[in-house]
């Protein structure tokens, strides 16, 4: 079936290292997206027309452009058009942060604008200061609304980073291809075993995270 090729030498650990490469990119991008997303999302709740138009165009562009196109635009497009020469690593982190920030800011905006005005008014009438209102009333509610969805974003980020192999980063799929090529003679069925293993590996990474997100969503729903 082609699984035996993974037991040869350090093949399995090479696959795992490849997976770690993809996960590292997604984790860095998630961290950047959360910070920038919270800032942009808060800005979007202000009623400033310039911010509104700019963020609307940005969100819509990211919403309709496939991540693969964005990768090509940043990796090949900037090199040719602007003369900037960046590594594939940097390009993919920029692209996934741009995408993640758009998604995250939309979540933050939704959570913020979903909090009724009465919450602020009651807090003020109880004598709370603005800082106290945010720390004790608004932010805890926002976190409850956003956390399950942002955890979901993490799994989507991990799944999307599999695309980085298309701009030449050696991650798990690329390593898999190399293993299959190297063992073409000795185990001709390696493609099945290797790709099935990668399939399962991705599942094992994303499944627990999506269960956590579902659990939190249920727990905080009531």
């Amino acid at each position: 079936m082609g699984f035996e090729v993974l037991l040869k030498g350090s093949n399995m650990s090479r696959l795992l290292v490849g997976l770690a490469v993809a996960l590292r990119i997604s984790m860095i991008s998630v961290a950047i997206s959360i910070v920038l997303g919270v800032i942009l999302g808060s800005l979007m709740t202000l009623k400033n027309p310039v911010i509104k138009v700019v963020s609307k165009i940005y969100l819509e562009f990211i919403r309709i452009m496939p991540q693969m196109v964005l990768l090509f635009l940043v990796f090949f497009g900037t090199t040719k058009a602007l003369g900037i020469n960046m590594s594939a690593d940097t390009a993919s982190i920029i692209v996934f942060s741009l995408w993640g920030t758009a998604e995250m800011s939309d979540l933050v905006r939704g959570a913020l604008s979903g909090i009724p005005k009465i919450q602020y008014e009651s807090s003020f009438s109880l004598g709370m200061t603005t800082a106290q209102t945010y720390i004790h009333v608004i932010i805890p509610q926002i976190i409850r609304r956003m956390l399950p969805l942002s955890i979901n974003l993490v799994t989507r980020m991990i799944k999307t980073t599999s695309l980085v192999m298309m701009i030449g980063i050696v991650e798990v799929l690329k390593v898999g291809q190399q293993i299959i090529e190297a063992n073409r003679k000795s185990s001709p069925n390696a493609a099945f075993g290797v790709y099935a293993t990668i399939f399962i590996l991705y599942f094992l990474v994303c499944w627990p995270i999506s269960i956590l997100s579902k659990y939190l969503e249920k727990k905080w729903e009531s």
Binding site: M1, G2, E60, R63, I64, M65, P66, Q67, M68, V69, F72, L73, F76, G77, T79, K80, A81, T155, K159, T160, S162, L163, M165, M166, L173, G176, I180, P188, N189, A191, F192, V194, Y195, A196, I198, F199, Y202, F203, C206, W207, S210
Partner: protein
Amino acid sequence: MDLDVLISYFPKYVEAFFLTVRVGVIGIGIAFLMGIISAFIVYFKVPILSFIFSAYIELFRNTPLLVQLFFIYFGLPKLGISISAEVCGVVGIGLLGGSYMAEGFRSGLSAVPGSQNEGALALGMTKSQMFFNVIFPEAFSLSVPAIVANVIFLLKETSVFSAISLMDLMFTAKDLIGLYYNTTEALFLLVVFYVVMILPVSIVGNMVEKRVHYKMFGV
């Protein structure tokens, strides 16, 4: 940017555009059917089948399309199951999309309040009347936002087809960049064609969402 280059590339992109749309539309159709069937089976807790379909939903929701396509296109032929790139694309989008659609329908079904069941039964409806005339229409309109989001997501995911050498928009752009090195023109056309493909879907989707919301809640 060179206008002559743009004009000479244009027909290639048009061809790729129609291939992408064709595979996308057929795939999304299959995804829709798969989604409804899986959601029904899981909702009615059909023995054995509901376990199989839940496993399918979790498995495909938690893996990237690229990995799925590699498995189907390069892995399965080793077991003697060999399909063309185009069929592989349709199957990939269908299976991936099916799991997402199922999740959308499932959350719609679970969002219909229990009082609707009781109300329908109290009016003397049979179980099947209750489901098809009351529960399902409500659940369907509740899932419209998820369906719209999924359709856009799946259309975007078609860009991954280029990895299995299906001559879609992405593949055409990559090919032209490799052949003639007119990166700016190739990427510009790529962006334009994706906007032409997905922006209308996004706009119509928003309108449908608003309309359904209005019909349900009156605001």
